[in-house]
Each structure stands twice: as structure tokens, then as C-alpha cells.
């Protein structure tokens, strides 16, 4: 009964939404309100000269909307804080998981393939982070790729092995690095004579400004990537970990 009511109401909602879609402007038309707006043209034409990054999206995220992104970075840090408040962080060096005590070890083929692939995945993520201002990619994407590589490693080799590779004493200081880099870059902008998060400092000569802005962008990308990756890995570890007394009882 509940299913039928839900299905009928979803059909009604879908019909309503499709009716709205039928009256929307044609997709991909250059004259669409989204594509013909002033701000889109402004970003596309001036982003390279104003932000000194070739990739317009990176310019928007880190330069034009820098405050927004620093808030976004704080959101993932808050998510980590909330997850740790709910599940708790492991005591240093004492970490247990159900997968580690499995009586059936993972296949040799799988272990060999994962051990072979994980370094290349991390190399690719470093490329994604460092090339964020030149090609599609950036800090968040690279951090997510590092997190994904650690998920693969943890499911195959167990939590203990992966927590030996990235111990708590490395993760703990780096988790907040994303917001910290934003803060450092912002204060450097103040010292350079501009506003908070000014990339092209007015106090230095004009021919130095592009290089400084570019390196600040790369610095921010590295900070976001490192911080994001450590947050994802910490969330993964605190979720896959089990309470210590569970292990003692088993």
C-alpha cells in the first residue's frame, strides 16, 4: 500500500517536473539566460588576466570565490570533527578492525595488483593537485583520489597495515592544513597591501605579480589536497575501526 502511494505521488511529481522542463529554454543554446549573463562573459574574458590561472574554474574557486571555498574547506573539517565526536578517534597505535581478523586472507593476485597500482594512483593524484591551475583537477579532486587509493589499500591489506603507513601523528597536524593555508594566504594578502585573500599584491612590482599569484594558487591547491586527503582517510579509519573491548572479548 505504502509503495503504491509512493509510486503514484512520485509519478505526479515527475509529471509536474517534466512539465516545467518542457517550458525551459533549449539546452546548449548560446542565448540561454545562464550562458548569456554578464557575469559568465566577464569571468571567461577576464579570468586569465585577473587571476593569472589558465583554468577559469580554478580561478573562480580559489580567487573570485575564495571566501566561499575557505568556508567549504571548513565544512569538511566540521564533518570530520562531527564523525570523530560520534565514533571517537583511535588511541595512538592501537587500532583494530574486523577485516584484519578475517580467517580467509585476500588472494595473492589481488594483493599484488593493489600493491602495484596504489603508488600510481597516488602519483596521479599528485599530478591532479599540482596541475589544478592548468588542467581539469585541483585540490579537492586530488584529495579524493588519495582517499580512494587508501580505501582500496585498507580493504585488501587491513586497517593495521594502512594505519602503519599513515599513522595518527602524521594525520593529526595535517587535517586542518586546508583552512590553515587559506588563512596564511589571506594574511599574506593583507601584508602585501591588498585585502584578505588578495593574490596580486599591490605592494610589489607589477611584473612580479603574476608569478606570486600563481604560486599562491599552487600553495592553496597543495594545502586543500593534503588537508582533504587526511580528512577523508581519518573518516575512513574511524568508520572501519572497532572498539577495543570488542577485540578483547573475541
Amino acid at each position: 500500500m505504502k509503495r503504491i502511494v509512493a509510486l503514484v505521488s512520485m509519478m505526479a511529481l515527475l509529471a509536474l517536473l517534466l512539465y516545467v522542463v518542457a517550458s525551459m529554454p533549449t539546452m546548449g543554446d548560446a542565448g540561454n539566460p545562464t550562458n548569456a549573463s554578464e557575469i559568465t562573459k566577464y569571468y571567461l574574458e577576464n579570468a586569465e588576466e585577473e587571476t593569472f590561472t589558465v583554468n577559469v574554474i580554478t580561478g573562480i574557486i580559489l580567487n573570485y570565490r575564495g571566501y566561499d571555498t575557505s568556508g567549504e574547506v571548513t565544512v569538511i573539517f566540521c564533518a570530520l570533527a562531527a564523525v570523530l565526536a560520534v565514533l571517537g578517534r583511535e588511541k595512538r597505535g592501537k587500532i583494530y578492525a574486523f577485516a584484519d581478523r578475517s580467517r580467509v586472507p585476500s588472494s595473492v593476485i589481488v594483493r599484488t595488483m593493489v600493491a602495484f597500482l596504489v603508488p600510481f594512483i597516488i602519483l596521479f593524484s599528485i599530478y591532479t593537485i599540482m596541475h589544478g591551475e592548468l588542467s581539469p583537477g585541483g585540490g579537492f579532486q586530488g584529495g579524493a583520489i588519495i582517499g580512494a587509493s587508501m580505501i582500496i589499500f585498507t580493504t585488501i591489506f587491513g586497517l593495521f597495515e594502512s594505519s602503519q603507513r599513515i599513522p595518527q601523528k602524521i594525520r593529526f597536524p595535517l587535517e586542518g592544513s586546508a583552512f590553515l593555508t587559506f588563512f596564511i594566504v589571506g594574511v599574506l594578502g593583507l601584508l602585501g597591501g591588498g585585502n584578505f585573500l588578495t593574490f596580486a599584491w599591490p605592494n610589489i612590482s607589477a611584473n612580479l605579480q603574476p608569478a606570486v599569484a600563481l604560486w599562491l594558487t599552487i600553495f592553496l591547491e597543495i594545502g586543500i589536497g593534503l588537508g582533504g586527503a587526511m580528512v577523508f582517510i581519518s573518516i575512513l579509519f574511524s568508520m572501519i575501526r572497532e572498539e577495543e573491548d570488542v577485540t578483547a572479548a573475541a
Partner: protein
């Protein structure tokens, strides 16, 4: 109607949204409800990215003398990057709460989680008495 066929990507996003909402309503397992929520988020991102599409558009990267007037709209992509990160954070927090619920109650079934223990016991007793009377 022909507009609906031109805007097939928007229509697909709407369909995906309804599938996600249906999953959230009908499924009793909390993890499946979360998967439905993620499908809904994906539908919103899909719609937003489609809004910025341009016919025969190129990536908004100013390299090799690319023509800015042919580039796709960069603003939806920048906004959706923020949206994806927030969605990931929400999912992580929700999963942490689900883990806590499972440790506490030993079930992920919503009907069982919301059942009043005393009421269920009284119902079972009444049922047993009825059987005894019969």
C-alpha cells in the same frame, strides 16, 4: 513536447531525482535511504551542470588561444564542486550516525528502530492470550 526531447538531459535529471526520492520513501534500510539521498544529490548536480552546457562548447581553459565565446559556462561547475564537497560531508556524518545506531540497536530497519518496545510486548501478550482462549 519537442522541447522535452531537446532538453532530454534535464528530463533525465528529473527522473533521477524522483527515483532517489522514491528510494528514500519506500526502503526500510537506512543505508538504502542514504543511497537514495545521494542519487537525489547527483540529480541536482547533473541538472546544474547541464544548465551550463553550450553546443559544440570547449572546456573553460584559456590555453592555446582558445576562444572565450565558445567555452561552456564555468560558474555551474565551480558551484557544483562546492556542492559535491558538502554532499560528501553530509554522507560521512550520516554514515557515522548509522554506525552508532547499529551498535546501539543491532538493526538498520526503520520500522524496528521506531517500534515502541512496551507496545510490542503488550501486543505479543494479547496475541498469546487470544490463542490460549481459542
Amino acid at each position: 513536447m519537442s522541447q522535452l526531447l531537446h532538453n532530454y538531459q534535464y528530463a533525465a535529471a528529473m527522473l533521477l531525482f524522483c527515483i532517489g526520492l522514491y528510494t528514500v520513501i519506500v526502503r526500510r534500510n537506512i543505508i538504502k535511504k542514504l543511497i537514495g539521498l545521494n542519487i537525489m544529490e547527483t540529480a541536482v548536480f547533473f541538472l546544474y551542470i547541464s544548465l551550463g552546457y553550450l553546443n559544440d562548447g570547449i572546456a573553460p581553459i584559456r590555453v592555446g588561444g582558445a576562444d572565450p565565446s565558445r567555452m561552456v559556462n564555468p560558474i555551474p561547475q565551480a558551484l557544483i564542486l562546492t556542492g559535491i564537497v558538502v554532499a560528501v560531508s553530509v554522507t560521512a556524518l550520516a554514515l557515522a550516525l548509522v554506525i552508532l545506531l547499529y551498535r546501539q540497536f543491532g538493526t538498520l530497519d526503520v520500522d524496528r528502530l521506531f517500534r515502541d518496545e512496551d507496545e510490542a510486548e503488550a501486543e505479543a501478550k494479547a496475541g498469546a492470550e487470544k490463542e490460549g482462549a481459542a
